[in-house]
């Protein structure tokens, strides 16, 4: 009875139609999928899922939350009977109760039955649509393929009509020309909605969503989330929404489950878990999530704004001033007349989405890009565009920290060797004392001297980012340019790095240009906020002012679209 094929060909029920209550499990009539004590190990016999149990209910979304390495994707894929290379199922089961069908135990299915289950009864929406759509197949054909392989409907015309219908459902054009487009002709948001259309084509009972909005801009994310919420309700499916973003869960899900290193630590209604967490880990995770209002103290003490430091001598030139920075590559105007100033000890957040030019701007300031027009001045001295042409003192004064700690440290050299490089070229410190200076910097970022002889490969992402920050500190800079330094990191690590940067500012009086796409960090770190949109600064001022009185439509939309806990 367990291997009954799911849903007879062409017999998929109409969406939203009143369903006879399926023969559900004993513990709840509307449970569609149940995971019982699921265990998964590597082929090397290291267990990575230690017995997960979960239930998905019809018409409800369950948010599965965890940081990288928690095993949430592995658990999600197991619902489709899929294990990535190097993983194997070692215990437990996934049971599905489809509409009007027999109970299915996924782990007991043969290859053919499993294939009939996938894409039909259980559908998957992947993380990166750009990688998950076949670049050599037209998008309409990729949706149509799901219907073809599951023999939906009774004619080609019916299947074509269903493709058009589901495209319209997700808010995409459904005409023939659009269906004949290639994936690369679509934007990221459109590609993801193709993925959603593909998942809903067969009227599935269960939907597994694997971080479907990671990598999308805030406004696109809001749009895609709306589509997901709407489609889930309308089609009455049970959804498992895998994510690291608690704010998204708060907006979208009915229930939430929290995973930590292959274990489920807490599960319950969203309201209860997010506002009255029981498990320590959930509590700490929630504390680490930045919020727009800045009520929380992520990564340590609350941020104390000290307005006194701003412009105590109005006549003196600002510490750092960028004037009318312009840069274009061919037709594309990357930066279109940027003016930005930074006073001693001040932190300005430069906020922009991908493609806004924020990294380009920060690299112009740091001297990594030298073909811009306009000027960058340190106090009253105008700086040469390239760091190679700046004086050693100027180079030391402005330090830049890269986005990815996995790329910014040479894997073949020890942390100590990498951190000594700035001292070698600045010649500020005699050779004999360099090791001491580097060790002090390692202490300052709370890594400790023992890291001097270790290599990046042994360090976690957070540790590496601390080392990269330490490299920026060895020359005692006056300005720190931080380019998306937390975006490659988990939220808890992000919190600790934010805490570290805040403390370094207070201890050393560092001025900081904090570049990010994450507006919720603003009140946790910055005094001023500059919003960058398509190479222009569209809103600029103290954080509270910009939040209270956004002037540009882009800023207003940004503040409206941001999901909050």
């Amino acid at each position: 009875m367990t291997t009954a094929p799911p849903a007879a060909p062409g017999a998929a029920p109409a969406p939203g139609a009143a369903q006879p209550a399926p023969a559900g499990p004993a513990d709840g009539a509307d449970v569609v999928l149940r995971i019982d004590d699921l265990r998964i190990a590597t082929t090397g016999d290291a267990e990575i899922l230690h017995g997960i149990s979960l239930s998905l209910r019809r018409g409800q979304l369950l948010g599965l939350v965890g940081e990288s390495g928690s095993g949430k994707t592995t658990a999600g894929l197991a619902c489709l009977g899929h294990f990535r290379a190097g993983l194997k199922h070692t215990g437990g089961s996934v049971t599905i109760w489809p509409r009007g069908g027999e109970r299915i135990v996924v782990q007991e299915l043969g290859e053919d039955a499993l294939r009939q289950l996938r894409g039909a009864r259980v559908a998957y929406i992947p993380q990166d649509p750009a990688l998950s759509l076949n670049p050599a197949m037209r998008v309409g054909e990729q949706i149509r393929e799901v219907l073809d392989v599951h023999r939906w409907g009774d004619s080609d015309a019916a299947r074509e009509a269903r493709v058009a219908e589901v495209l319209a459902d997700v808010g995409l054009p459904s005409d023939r020309d659009y269906r004949r487009r290639w994936p690369h002709q679509l934007s990221g948001g459109q590609q993801q909605r193709i993925g959603i259309a593909m998942a809903f084509a067969m009227f599935p009972d269960v939907l597994i969503l694997d971080e479907p909005t990671t990598g999308l801009d805030v406004s696109t994310q809001a749009h895609v989330l709306d589509t997901i919420r709407d489609m889930t309700r309308r089609n009455d499916v049970a959804g498992l929404y895998i994510t690291h973003d608690l704010a998204v869960v708060a907006e979208l899900a009915d229930r939430v489950a929290v995973m930590l290193r292959g274990m489920l630590v807490e599960e319950g209604p969203v309201e209860r878990v997010l506002h009255h967490p029981e498990h320590d880990y959930t509590k700490r995770l929630l504390e680490a999530v930045p919020d727009l209002a800045g009520r929380k103290a992520i990564g340590g003490d609350p941020y104390r704004d000290s307005p006194a430091r701003i412009a105590d001598d109005a006549t003196a030139p600002p510490l750092l001033a960028a004037r009318n920075i312009r840069l274009s590559y061919g037709e594309a105007q990357i930066l279109d007349g940027i003016d930005l100033t930074l006073e001693p000890g001040e932190c300005t957040m430069l906020l922009g989405e991908s493609g806004s030019g924020k990294t380009t701007l920060s690299r112009c300031v740091a001297g990594l890009i030298d073909d811009y027009t306009g000027t960058v001045a340190l106090e009253s001295a105008q700086l040469a565009p390239s760091t190679r042409k700046r004086t050693a003192e100027q180079r030391s004064a402005i330090q830049y920290v890269f986005q990815s700690p996995f790329s910014s440290l040479n894997p073949r050299r020890t942390i100590g060797e990498s951190l000594t490089v700035p001292l070698e070229t600045s010649q500020r410190v005699p050779k004999a004392r360099r090791r001491r200076v580097v060790e002090e910097a390692l202490d300052a970022v709370r890594l400790g001297r023992s890291f001097f002889d270790r290599r990046p490969g042994d360090l976690s992402g957070g540790e590496r980012q601390r080392a990269a920050i330490a490299r920026a500190l060895v020359n005692s800079p006056r300005v720190l340019v931080c380019d998306e330094v937390t975006s490659a990191l988990d939220v808890s690590v992000q919190a600790s790095i934010i805490g570290l940067l805040r403390r370094l500012r207070e201890e050393n009086g560092l001025a900081m240009l904090f570049v990010t796409h994450n507006i919720t960090l603003a009140r946790h770190i910055a005094d001023n906020l500059a919003i960058l949109n398509r190479g222009r600064i569209v809103d600029y001022g103290p954080v509270d002012d910009v939040f209270a009185h956004p002037t540009h439509a882009y800023t207003k939309a940004l503040l409206a679209d941001i999901p909050t806990l």
Partner: protein, 297 residues
């Protein structure tokens, strides 16, 4: 550590005082291909290096002495086309092949590696010029190029080394260039630029160690092909010249009697086969061993 840092941040790993990635050699040896490759290569290398010393003591004849009638079956492996001891000549016949192959490979690696890194690091017109020159040399197959050079300059040792080395260079340059391009977009190169580290030091300290993996794979491959190319030329009668004892040349000299006295041919064929298979397995094992470290995260 601040009080609010989560336990998951600094991982559970206890701090060690120093850390080195496990040696490439150990990871090569951990694979069956690596072990077989090392053993096969070592056997032939030992044979080629120490064989010349053993030739006379073992057989009683020098490689150039006449021992019997041509293609006779006296001694362990009989005599060759001129009646010299096959075993003596076999023991003496690997040294030059190995030497020339290693020299040609080294020449190709130095020239090709430098050109490839330069092209990738300089970009712009220099890159275009180097790569177009590469395309031109690549359009003539290595063997044909070698024959052209030998026609003009004669079959001399240095001609073999230089022409094989230089025809390897464009192929190696391609590998070095693409490996460098992969590395050069890493932020640690940008960081070195930012700290105004001298360019030669960026190439030597930041780039070279990080492309050592693909380069050593290429060296192994090229050594395999160098051995094949030089042995082929000798086999064609256009490499080592008589009366030199050489495996490739021995095959040329003795193949007319393959059905009567096969040892003059088969010993050499076997040695060349074992050597090339050994170096190729080794190159493949190095590729697997280094792939694990070059891909971080």
């Amino acid at each position: 550590m601040s009080t609010h840092i989560l336990t998951s941040d600094p991982t559970g790993a206890p701090p060690r005082t120093s850390s080195k990635p496990p040696g490439v050699l150990r990871r090569v040896w951990a694979q069956s291909e690596g072990r077989v490759g090392i053993v096969l290569t070592a056997v032939v290398v030992v044979l080629a290096v120490f064989g010349p010393l053993l030739a006379a003591p073992l057989t009683g004849y020098t490689p150039y002495q006449f021992a019997d009638r041509p293609f006779a079956h006296s001694g362990v492996f009989g005599t060759d086309n001129l009646g010299r001891s096959v075993l003596a000549r076999f023991l003496d016949g690997g040294r030059l092949l190995l030497l020339y192959s290693v020299l040609a490979t080294a020449l190709g690696m130095v020239v090709g590696g430098a050109l490839g890194m330069l092209a990738a690091y300089a970009r712009g017109w220099l890159d275009s010029v180097i790569m177009r020159l590469n395309d031109i040399v690549l359009a003539i197959p290595q063997l044909v190029f070698a024959l052209l050079a030998i026609t003009v300059l004669g079959p001399k040792g240095w001609v073999l080394v230089v022409v094989i080395g230089l025809t390897h260079a464009p192929r190696i340059a391609r590998v070095a260039r693409s490996a460098t391009l992969r590395v050069i977009n890493e932020d640690y190169i940008r960081a070195a630029e930012m700290y105004s580290v001298p360019r030669w030091r960026i190439i030597g300290r930041e780039i070279l160690p990080n492309i050592a993996g693909p380069l050593s794979v290429e060296a192994g491959l090229r050594l395999t092909y160098s051995i094949g190319a030089i042995a082929s030329l000798s086999f064609l009668g256009l490499g080592m010249q008589p009366p030199t004892a050489d495996w490739g040349l021995m095959i040329n000299e003795n193949r007319i009697a393959l059905s009567v006295q096969p040892w003059g041919v088969l010993l050499s064929v076997f040695a060349i086969a074992v050597l090339t298979i050994g170096t190729n397995l080794l190159a493949d094992a190095i590729a697997r061993a280094t792939a694990q470290t070059t891909v971080e995260e």
